[in-house]
C-alpha cells in the first residue's frame, strides 16, 4: 500500500525491465553518502527501522495500480506488468549498518539485493527515510557535543518539514544523543522521553503573569518550569522566585541568553532557589550553545528546535542509491557510473571498522583473511533475508547507546564542529582493481 510513494521513473523503469525480460535478474544496490555535509566529519546512520518496515510492507493496492494504468505512460501490452506489480512483495535481502553508527563519505549505509524491480522501486523511499534521519541524528550529535554534558531536548516539530517529519526528527535526535523530544507522538510510538511545560499563550491566558505561574506550579509541582520572557525576563524571574518551592526551573526564550541567565541565576539564588535550573531555548544551534558554554553562562539545559529538526545549516544529505551488481542467469556483472564528479564504485561491499580507520572491501573478501582479522567489526549486517526480518531490530535506546559509544571512540578532532582531517577510510585493492576493470569495459 506504500508502493506509489516513489518517483515515477522507478515505475517506468520497472515496466521497462519487465518488458525486457529482466524482472528475474538479481540486482544489488548500495545506499551511501557521496560527501559529508558541510562542517561534518561523520554522519550518524539512522532510519534503518523505517527502511526495513517499508521493505517488509512494500505493495501496491488495486486502486493504486488503476491509477498507474490511467496514466497511459507505457507502451501497449503492459497488463502483465500491472499483474506483476499487484503481486509484488519484497523477497530480497537487506544488509545495513546498525542505527547509531557513525559513517563516512562513500561508505554504504545499506545494501539491497533483490529482484531488479523490487530493488529499483525502493530507491526513493530508502534515500529519503535514511537521509533525513541521518541528518538529524548527526545534527543532534553536534549539538550534544557542544552542550558538553548539559541535557539537550529536541523541540522542533513546529518547524519540521511536516508534522510526521517532526516525529522522525524526534526519533533521530534522540538516537543522536538528545535527552528527549517535545513530540508526544514520538514518545508514544518509540518510547522516547518527552518533555515540555508551557508556552507564552499560557502566560497570556491569565490577566496576571504571577497568576499564570502559580497555576502552573499547582499543576506540575516540582516539575514546574516557568517561561519567564513573555513581557520582561528579569521581572518574570522575580515573580518566579517570589513563588518559591516547588520548582524545577525557569526557561529563557529570547534576548541575550548569556547576560540574562547570569541575572536570573542571581535572582533565583538570592531567593534561596539554588537548585532551580535554567533552561535556554530560542533559535539555538551547536555554535550558539558552544559559545554560551564557553562563556560560562549558567544554563543547565538547552532546548533546540528548528535548527535540529531541519538540520538547518545542512538541510539535505547527498545520499545516493546505485546499482553495483547485476546477476542474470547466474552470471554476475559489476556495474558503476562514471558521470562527471559522480563516479560510483562497483561491487557489493563490506565496511571493516578497525580501531583507528575503516576499510571498505568487497563483500566477498573474507574479513578473516589477509590481515583483516584485526577488524573490530564488520558493519554491514543482515537485516532482511529472503524477504523476512532476520531478527528484531534494536530499539531507539540501544541505537542511542551505540551512537554515544561509537562517537566517544572517534578522534576528538573528528567530533569537533568544524572541518577536520577526514577520517581514514581505505578502499581495498580488490575494489580498486574492480573499478578499473569496469571502467575499461564501459569504455570499450
Amino acid at each position: 500500500m506504500n508502493g506509489l510513494l516513489t518517483d515515477l521513473y522507478e515505475l517506468t523503469m520497472s515496466a521497462g525491465y519487465f518488458a525486457a525480460g529482466k524482472s528475474a535478474e538479481i540486482a544489488t544496490f548500495e545506499l551511501s553518502v557521496r560527501r559529508m555535509p558541510p562542517h561534518r566529519n561523520f554522519v550518524v546512520a539512522t532510519g534503518l527501522a523505517q527502511a526495513a518496515d517499508y521493505l517488509l510492507n512494500l505493495s501496491f493496492s488495486a486502486e493504486e495500480i488503476d491509477y498507474l494504468r490511467s496514466l497511459r505512460l507505457f507502451a501497449s501490452s503492459t497488463e502483465e506488468f500491472f499483474d506483476y506489480l499487484c503481486r509484488l512483495r519484497f523477497t530480497g535481502d537487506l544488509f545495513a549498518v546498525p542505527e547509531g553508527t557513525p559513517i563516512f563519505a562513500g561508505e554504504p549505509v545499506l545494501t539491497v539485493r533483490a529482484p531488479l524491480i523490487e530493488a529499483q522501486v525502493a530507491e526513493t523511499y530508502l534515500l529519503s527515510i535514511i537521509g533525513f534521519q541521518t541528518l538529524v541524528a548527526t545534527k543532534a550529535a553536534r549539538v550534544v557535543e557542544a552542550a558538553a554534558g548539559r541535557p539537550v531536548v529536541e523541540f522542533g516539530t513546529r518547524h519540521a518539514h511536516s508534522p510526521e517529519a517532526g516525529v522522525l526528527a524526534g526519533r533521530a535526535a534522540y538516537i543522536g544523543g538528545c535527552a528527549g523530544t517535545s513530540n508526544t507522538l514520538a514518545g508514544f510510538r518509540f518510547g522516547i522521553p518527552v518533555s515540555g511545560t508551557a508556552a507564552h499563550s499560557w502566560v497570556m491566558s491569565f490577566t496576571d503573569e504571577t497568576e499564570s505561574f502559580r497555576r502552573l506550579q499547582q499543576l506540575l509541582g516540582p516539575s514546574t518550569v516557568y517561561l519567564i520572557d513573555s513581557y520582561d525576563t528579569i521581572e518574570g524571574a522575580r515573580k518566579a522566585a517570589a513563588l518559591g518551592e516547588p520548582i524545577l526551573g525557569v526557561r529563557l526564550d529570547s534576548g541575550d541568553l548569556d547576560a540574562l541567565s547570569r541575572q536570573v541565576r542571581g535572582i533565583l539564588d538570592e531567593a534561596g532557589l539554588t537548585r532551580a535550573r535554567i533552561m535556554a531555548t530560542g533559535d539555538l544551534n551547536e555554535y550558539r550553545i558552544r559559545d554560551l558554554v564557553a562563556g560560562g553562562a549558567p544554563i543547565d539545559s538547552f532546548g533546540v528546535g528548528t535548527e535540529l529538526a531541519t538540520s538547518g545549516d545542512a538541510p539535505s544529505l547527498c545520499d545516493i542509491y546505485k546499482m553495483v551488481e547485476l546477476s542474470s542467469g547466474g552470471v554476475k556483472r559489476y556495474t558503476a557510473k562514471f558521470s562527471a564528479e559522480k563516479v560510483t564504485v562497483p561491487g557489493a561491499k563490506q565496511i571493516l571498522r578497525f580501531r583507528d580507520h575503516d576499510e571498505v572491501a568487497g563483500a566477498w573478501e573474507c574479513p578473516l583473511t589477509s590481515g583483516k582479522a584485526a577488524a573490530v567489526e564488520a558493519l554491514l549486517r543482515p537485516v532482511i533475508y529472503d524477504g523476512e526480518l532476520v531478527e528484531p531490530l534494536p530499539d531507539v535506546h540501544t541505537a542511542r547507546e551505540r551512537a554515544a559509544k561509537c562517537l566517544r571512540n572517534l578522534p576528538p578532532a573528528c567530533r569537533h564542529l568544524t572541518d577536520a582531517e577526514p577520517y581514514r577510510v581505505e578502499w581495498s585493492e580488490e575494489l580498486t582493481r574492480l573499478s578499473e576493470q569496469v571502467r575499461e569495459q564501459v569504455a570499450e
Copy 2:
C-alpha cells in the same frame, strides 16, 4: 487519532487550562510569518487543505490517552481532563487566506477561534503543515520565475525530510508553479501531473548504453527521454541521436550544463532531431537556472529536486501561532507578548488587499467603511465554522492558478530573486492603538 502529533507542552497547558476552569474560554490564535525567509520578498501561503483536514479530524484514541496517563506528568485528579480529551473534537472556526496567495511579514495566514484547549493543541501541527508547504511553494515560485517560461518539474522526494514530506513538497511545488512532480503518490492523491522516465540504473542494467536507449524507446515511444550522462554525455548524445525518432528528448544530469547543452543541441540538430528537447537536472536551484537562461543555454525544461523539496537555502519558515484574543464569560480580552524582538499584535485581524498594498486591520473594522471599500479583496475567509467545513476547499489546480495570477500582480522587483523594497503593508490605526493599550495594561 492525530491528537498526540503535538508538542507535549500543548497538552500540559491544556491540563492546566482545564484545572483552572478555563476550558470554556474562547481563544483566538493567529498563525503568521514573523519575517520573510532570506531573499524572499513574499511567501506563497500553502497547506490549508491539510490544516483543515487536521482540525476536522482532531481526536485522541483511548490508547493515546492511556499513554498520556502513563506519563504521570500532571498533578492528581486529572481523570476529568482525560475524559475531556477523549471527547475532544474541533468545534471552533478557522479563517484562512486561500492557498496560493502571496503574503508578507506579520500578516496572518490563518486564524483559529475555538475553545482554548482545542485551539492550543492545534498549534504544533498547524505551524508545521503550513510552514513547510509555504516554504516549498515559495521556492517553486522563485524557480519558475527564474526558468522564464520553461517548464520546471519537482524531483526532490529522495532528499525530502521523509517520503511523506516529499508528497507534500510535490503538492506545494505544483501550487507554486511547477508543471508537475516525480512523486507518484502526490499524483495519485492530489491529481498533480507526474513525470519521469529513467535513471542511471536503467542504463547500467544493460551491458550496452545504446541497447538501454533502444529498450526505453520501445517502451515509451514519443515520450522517450534518454538520460545521457552515465558514462560520457557527448557519446551518450551521439548514441541517442543515432536512434532517431520517436524521441521526446534527452536529459543532462551532470557536468557543465551550459556547454553540454549547446554541444548536445548541435548533435541532435545535425541528426535532424530539431524538435527533441533538452532537459537539465542535477543540483539546480533558482540561481543556476537564472544563469543558464541568461546565458542562452538551449535547455527546454528543468528538473529541480533537493533544493526545491527542502527549500535548501531557507529550510525553515519563521511562522508563529500566537493568542490575540481570549473571551471568558462574554468578556473579551486582547492579548500579546512583548518579548525582546518577538512582539506580537493583539486582536483578530483581516488583511485587506488593495491594488498596490495591503492593510492589516482589526477583523471588526468593516471593510466597507472609512475608505476601505476600495479594497480588492479581504483575504481571510471562513473555512471551518462551528467545527464544520463551510464549503469544499479549492483543489490544487485552482490554488496554482491563484498563485500565478497573484504573483503576476506583484511589482516585478518583488518577484526578483534578491531582496527588494518590502511590499507596502500598512497596519490600521485601530490595531496600532490597541497594541499600545495592551502594552500599557501589561506594564501596570
